[in-house]
């Protein structure tokens, strides 16, 4: 789960990382009031779950008397398909140096890895591509945590200039915030050294581990359903793993691997999937019924491909769910099915004479549905 900058900064502040004073505004008037309270230059920043806000014009400096107009321009702005509904109004920082400090879970070393760079304030993925040596990486022992001496060594190695103890301390606190909130990514970019020598997190990003939200009810509440696709919200209520995609072939299958494979086959056949939907293991007819109902509801869907390999999931249960949805008239588009594995014969018997195109092979089924939705794109 992604957090907004202001939420990430609240977490960092709780763990003692210095952040500039700032408040969230939903209207230009609110923004002006906040800026006038501070009585000095502020930075007004769009709060949307997408990178590249600055380049899109969503981050602007403003004097208190300009803040209303500037906030008015940013609010309502469209950044990469997302509408800006709120802005962070924060005291502008007196920047002397801009650095980068971030933590990720690295699959290869199977540890949390600290990354520190002198090249702050820019896209770190760009730095990784063009000047990888400028990023110093350090894998942290999960049982010992990040100790101050380790942070000092990384800071020195990365060539950061400024008060060494303060820089290291901010990084240790960033690690504490990462572990304490069960993050999957946490970064401060830029980590600023001010003209006065203070260390401050001028911008911050935190992604949380969805699997750990159950132990952070306060953070779980921050999920913004309006930022998600309505079908994704409905799917998550049903407990489906679902991703909305931009094609026109609805996809339903059992098991993430099989569903991914099914998307690949549709693509290979020249079609474009409208979604990823995994009904999970051991699904009964009612679960399948809900899945078909959900996918059929998507106005983009011109045909549905249901790909089932029965294991713990019984193919006949799947067939029953599909038939129920068809008989209730919920599906107005062609349905192609491929069933194999456990209870395959029973499923085929149930599906006999029903308005479903049954194929023995996944690739043939994929080709058929692509033809039915109007051929290869």
């Amino acid at each position: 789960m992604k957090l907004h900058e202001f939420q990430a900064k609240e977490i960092l502040a709780k763990y003692g990382v210095p952040v500039p004073p700032g408040k969230v505004a939903y209207t230009p008037e609110e923004a002006e009031r906040i800026a006038k309270d501070y009585g000095k230059l502020v930075v007004i920043k769009a709060q949307v779950h997408v990178g590249g806000r600055g380049k899109a014009g969503g981050v602007k400096l403003a004097k208190p008397e300009e803040s209303r107009e500037v906030a008015g321009k940013i609010l309502g702005m469209d950044i990469k398909g997302l509408t800006v509904k709120k802005v962070l109004v924060a005291e502008a920082v007196d920047i002397a140096k801009e650095y980068y400090a971030g933590l990720i879970i690295d699959r290869s070393s199977q540890r949390v890895v600290l990354m520190v760079s002198k090249e702050g304030g820019v896209d770190i993925e760009e730095v990784a591509r063009t000047n990888p040596k400028a990023i110093v990486k350090y894998a942290i022992d999960p049982h010992k945590g990040l100790r101050p001496f380790e942070a000092r060594e990384v800071v020195k190695k990365a060539g950061l200039e400024g008060n060494l103890n303060r820089l290291a301390s901010a990084i240790v606190k960033l690690y504490n915030a990462f572990v304490g909130s069960d993050a999957s990514l946490a970064e401060i970019n830029p980590l600023v050294v001010t003209e006065q020598g203070e260390i401050i997190a001028a911008d911050a990003k935190i992604d949380l581990d969805d699997n750990a939200l159950f132990r952070h009810p306060d953070l779980a509440k921050l999920r913004e359903v309006e930022a998600e696709h309505p079908l994704e919200i409905e799917a998550s209520n049903y407990g489906f793993a679902y991703v909305k995609l931009d094609g026109d072939v609805g996809i339903i299958g059992n098991g993430a691997g099989l569903v991914m494979y099914t998307l690949d086959l549709v693509n290979r056949a020249g079609g474009k999937p409208a979604n990823f939907l995994d009904i999970g293991g051991g699904a009964k007819a009612d679960v399948v019924y809900n899945a078909v109902k959900l996918v059929a509801k998507d106005p983009d869907v011109k045909g549905i491909f249901i790909n089932i390999f029965g294991g713990i999931t019984r193919a006949d249960e799947v067939a029953k769910g599909v038939i129920k949805a068809l008989e209730e008239g919920l599906v107005k588009v062609p349905v192609v099915m491929r069933v194999a594995g456990t209870a395959e014969e029973e499923a085929k018997k149930l599906l006999e004479g029903k308005p479903i195109y049954l194929y023995p092979n996944s690739l043939e089924a994929a080709k058929a549905i692509v033809t039915m939705v109007g051929g290869a794109k």
Partner: protein
């Protein structure tokens, strides 16, 4: 022969009294798996499916010879349960549970490895040596004894590939579902050496997917050391960047985890890559002819 487990492997079920644990324990017993004990804290002294239940793994270990444990404990307590088994001296721990907090796994994987214990999973279907033992949740009947080892990050797709290999007459030795999470106990490159030494395994199929770099690391190992043919498969080749495709680990982050990178690594290691499940069978046949 097979790798890691065979018909004599004695198995402990952690979470035996729960719905999932009981259901799959019954399926495993039907398959022929030797389940000798179960553990559920607070339920010690009961008997489930004719198997004694203990409060702790160390009590179970004191009363039975245990070669492997399979864990069906809910996500919040799953990493702790795996650690309990490892500390009690169980040499192989199979963690089925889905949705375990990633940092729990970061800490547990290191500790379990430091103890010299092999962990498979989490978020995995387990492992099966065809017609000998299944320590997992896969449908046993699709696996026929044969010549091909199979390692996969997926569940259903694995069953499908195993069924295709069985139906073609090639059959399976041991199949290991390593799990779809970003941090897992055993990766492809940890298992390839075992298949390399197993006299019954003549070829190995590696079913990878987008996300991470396990496939690339496996390819590098194959290039240097593998004596037997390896056939690859990559799921999620058409998935968009940054979207989590069902598995927590199946996500492309920046330039890491892309299908292009995996296909390139396989090509450099001389590993033919199948585009469809049927093609896996064809490529294995070709490699063995």
């Amino acid at each position: 022969m097979s790798i890691l487990v065979n018909k004599d492997t004695r198995v402990l079920v952690q979470g035996l009294t729960g719905r999932e644990g009981r259901f799959h324990a019954e399926q495993m017993i039907k398959y022929g798996t030797k389940i000798v004990a179960g553990v559920t804290p607070g339920k010690g002294g009961q008997e489930v499916l004719g198997v004694p239940v203990y409060d702790t793994v160390s009590e179970a270990v004191a009363n039975h010879q245990i070669d492997a444990s399979i864990v069906f404990v809910p996500a919040a307590a799953a990493a702790d349960a795996a650690l309990e088994a490892a500390h009690a001296g169980v040499p192989l721990v199979v963690l089925i549970t889905e949705g375990i907090p990633t940092l729990d796994m970061v800490a547990a994987v290191k500790e379990i490895k430091d103890l010299g214990v092999r962990l498979i999973g989490g978020n995995c279907p387990g492992l099966i040596s065809a017609e000998e033992t299944k320590i997992g949740i896969m449908p046993g009947h699709v696996f026929k004894k044969g010549r091909v080892g199979l390692i996969s990050r997926s569940g259903t797709l694995t069953y499908e590939a195993a069924a295709a290999l069985s139906n073609s007459g090639l059959g399976n030795t041991t199949t290991v579902g390593i799990g779809g999470d970003p941090i897992i106990g055993t990766t492809f490159k940890d298992l390839l050496p075992l298949f390399n030494e197993d006299p019954e395994t003549e070829a190995v199929v590696v079913i990878g997917e987008i996300g991470g770099s396990d496939e690339e690391e496996a390819a590098a190992w194959v290039k240097e050391h593998m004596k037997k043919p390896v056939v690859g498969f990559i799921g999620g080749r058409s998935a968009p960047k940054g979207k989590r495709m069902g598995h927590a680990g199946a996500i492309i982050m920046g330039d890491v985890g892309t299908p292009e990178s995996k296909l390139k690594a396989f090509a450099e290691a001389g590993i033919p890559v199948a585009d469809t499940i049927d093609e896996i069978v064809e490529l294995v046949k070709k490699a063995l002819s």
